[in-house]
Amino acid sequence: MPANNGYKVIGTRPIRHDGVDKVTGRAIYGADTQLAGLLYGQVLRSPHAHARIKSIDTSKAVALPGVKAVLTGTDLPDAGDQIVDLGEGPARLKYLRDNVLATDKALYSGHPVAAVAATSVHVAEEALDLIEVEYEELEAVLDVREAMQEGAPQLHDDMTTQEFGEDTGRKSNLATHFEHRLGDADKAFAEADVVVEREFQTATVHQGYIEPHNATASWNADGQLTVWTSTQGSFTARAQVGAVLDMPISKIKVVPQEIGGGFGGKIPIYLEPVAALLSKASGQPVKMIMTRPAVFESTGPTPGSYIKIKMGADNSGKIVAADAYIAFESGAYPGGLVGAAAMCVFSCYDIPDGRIDCYDVVVNKPRSFAYRAPGSTQVAFATEHVVDLLAAQLGMEPLEIRLKNNATTGTRRIDGVVYPKMGCKEVLEAIRDSEHYQSSAPAGPNGGRGISVGYWFNVGLKSSCTASVNADGTVSLVEGSTDIGGTRTSVAMQFAETLGLQAEDVKPQVADTDSIGHTDVTGGSRVTYATGWAAYKAALDVQDQLCERAAQLWEVEAGQVEFDDGVFRSGDNELTFKELAGRLEETGGPVIGRATVDPDSGVGGSFAANIADVEVDPETGKVDILRFTVIQDAGRAIHPAYVEGQMQGGSVQGIGWALNEEYFYSGDGHLDNSSFLDYRIPTSLDLPMIETIIVEVPNPGHPYGVRGVGEANIAPPPAAIAAAIEDAVGVRPQELPMKPDRIVAALQAHEERAAQAAGG
């Protein structure tokens, strides 16, 4: 028996099923979609961060030869203002629609205001230049704290602050305010022996997937719409397109093409309804692909933030109180990410008394969206710093204070939630036991080491699978989860394990919205967990049906057939899965297994931790990552190579966020670095190997113990690197990114303070 806890397929590393297509260039991504008579669409975007649209004259564009259709925001159907529930959080329909094509106001530089379909991309671009838009420029506000000020330019004339179901009636950019309270924080702070408080800021950052957004739409004469797109969720895309176009979902088919990265940014729709209406207007299919600058200027970055953290501990090192003030930029329209931040801010610690005060604020930037453990990275950067300061004041090691206070089974978070079985302690112990932690910290005057821990709660939601048994004993597995990082294989492996098959015997396929039951987005680290669970249930369904078929062959009752390890048995009768699959024709024909899941218990959160070694060049402020380890609780690693891949990829996104990535706006609100040249994601040369340690604290809520691993890994890196920088050169930035000029400025200020102290 292999060592994989008795599993034969789970824990192995088969070649992914879609691998050959992807290494030969044959896999079809959204932009590769080809249709006869295809037109090319382009979007005109606002050059202003905040402006009233007074008029749009498209007549010259319409007259240009080769132009087949021109649209503006008023061409979108107006279904009134209502709240639409799209399965991934609610949205106001007006906001959803206005983000697709602005009507009355442009709220960020890059906001779409018109669109064109033409016979070539070049003609479409030329047509954009002929559209005349008259703007009344308005003062823009780009910073979360400025936007909260009394008298700040107001983005939405009718926006009032919502406080947990109550409309306060206060007109403001402050869309939502809420609080969590546990116990008596004031009393606990008063009794604490040590109290530390610090302020933090983090920049707006982008998911930075390499594939630009795209959509191809064909509106048929019978009113049926087909949309081919790179999306994290075909059903969610269908629901959003239906809402914006005010049409029933039955009229829409979304075909999810291969997707070149998402990280949360390809849940919302942008081009899909525009391509659809251009197709309707022109009578031809229309393909639209965003330029890279458009991706940065107008698709979902994740919020910049202002955070204040106060924590208190007693002399034994027990953290007794915590207080967080978290203000997130939601971009042009309200968002929901600060709620997630609240669930993560103190999530690694067992703290009896505390409060969390949260603000969701609109600013003149693109509407922010989820980015891998959304909200968690910002707050981990802040909380982990304050925890390290408590440790320093108490004379404790950073790991020691964490192990003394780690959240565990039964811990009640400040937002009230009580943890089921969780792996925080195990992840921290894995730091302690690692070769990296036990090795000596980097030598030299400018080398340093830091550790940190972070959390993501993961989500469940709905998934569907169907499985057709083939006569040769293989199974065609159809699922609705778009595969961004190898989930076809991690889902197929769970199916194979259940039926005693090999991973290669299962042929997984991602289907369109007409061909599989509703499946929610590839997000929330949910696919291997929930769609894997659906595959497990579909396999059990196949197993039950095959037991009946074997019973028919052997002329016994179905209850007398047992299935174990890929073999059906009853008395002396025995048939392998493959043998029985070959005899389905004799017993009633095809067998199709099916399952849907909607897990609302046992989702199982995941903790991740880092050990980071850095070297700082104090003259230039450059930080080099010398060695980096990521540790994460996977519950059960289905395909360890892809679990490691998530951990490494998330870590490196965290490293980019830590050191260089930011939205850099000019004073008038124009994004100045909307390219991969100046929005600096890490290159291979910026990094060492990313060492991984998979911790497995099985999730009791899943048949195979799976915890999603897609997200928690992005939370700890900025904090670990900040701690390592402090260890190296004695300054610890409180603002992300910790870019070279900021490090040099901090070092100079530090020296000046030291000189003053010496002089005084």
Binding site: T620, G621, K622, D678, R680, P682, T683, D686, P740, V744
Partner: protein, 292 residues
């Protein structure tokens, strides 16, 4: 509205007559070397139609000579070709490392020193290196070839001395003699791919006792064009290029720099770091010369 066109002349005469004909027809002509800047600009800030005149098929611009007194690098020679030339790397290490800094492996396969110079960006990496090693531009002109020192070539952000009917054939660099060497360093936030936040090129000559007898220092990305820093050179000449001399050179570079604050760095930061780079490049050039 005009149209796009592409021409690939095979000689200087043909290229000059192509440029003249386009000018006479009222068309805009643009020389194309590696195209790595031209293509990007055509998609963003400079979309209008023009005739591309590809310098890569012009025989004279495709030459690479390493003579006893002079090195000639044709304007069409890709950086990757230079970097694969061990002799060139040994005699002009600073210039070749500057060329090697232009973009990725992919960019290196197309980008040229000549193109980097003609693009005339304040942050062009080869420009301070070319200035430091005394390179001269050989320009094809309707009236015959003319020569312009690289420090006089760039006139502003994206502008230079070339007339619409002229083009750069290549660069002539005096072959370093004796204990002479050079170095170029730039600072970027990442390790690859970025545009220089600031850069410094240093070329110097040492005598037998290790005393600097000649030096030239040029800095980039800290003003609208690359700057020559005479005070930095003066700080090195007559010394053994020791720490004090290097510190003085660094101060001279920082003092002359007139940077701006933008997405790549602040004024204060650039002023400081251009000094740091001057000091470090000077030490590398000194060590290289001492090793000769």
């Amino acid at each position: 509205m005009g149209a796009y066109a592409y021409r690939a002349p095979s000689s200087v005469e043909e290229a000059l007559s192509t440029l003249a004909a386009e000018a006479a027809a009222g068309n805009r002509a643009q020389m194309l070397a590696g195209g790595t800047d031209v293509m990007v600009q055509m998609r963003s800030i400079d979309k209008g139609p023009r005739t591309f005149v590809d310098v890569k098929h012009v025989a004279e611009a495709n030459a690479l000579h390493i003579g006893d007194d002079e090195v000639f690098i044709g304007a069409g020679i890709a950086s990757a070709v230079l970097n694969e030339n061990d002799e060139l790397k040994s005699i002009l290490p600073g210039l070749i490392e500057a060329a090697d800094l232009i973009g990725s492996t992919q960019i290196q396969g197309r980008a040229t020193i000549g193109g980097n110079l003609c693009n005339s960006s304040p942050a062009g990496d080869t420009i301070p290196a070319l200035i430091a090693c005394g390179a001269v531009c050989e320009i094809a002109s309707p009236g015959g070839n003319r020569e312009v020192p690289t420090e006089d070539f760039v006139t502003g952000v994206g502008t230079n001395v070339l007339e619409p009917t002229e083009f750069l054939i290549g660069l002539k660099i005096p072959r370093p003699k004796g204990r002479s060497s050079d170095a170029y360093l730039r600072f970027i936030p990442r390790t690859e791919m970025d545009i220089a936040v600031c850069g410094a090129g240093v070329a110097l000559t040492l005598d037998d006792s290790g005393v600097c007898t000649a030096a030239k220092v040029s800095i980039g990305a800290v003003a609208i064009t690359a700057l020559v820093v005479p005070d930095a050179a003066a700080a090195l000449v007559g010394t053994t290029v020791d720490d004090d001399a290097l510190a003085a050179a660094a101060d001279a570079s920082s003092a002359l720099a007139k940077p701006i604050t933008d997405k790549r760095g602040t004024v204060e930061y650039r002023r400081k770091v251009v000094g740091v780079l001057t000091k470090r490049a000077g030490a590398i050039a000194r060590d290289r010369a001492l090793a000769l």
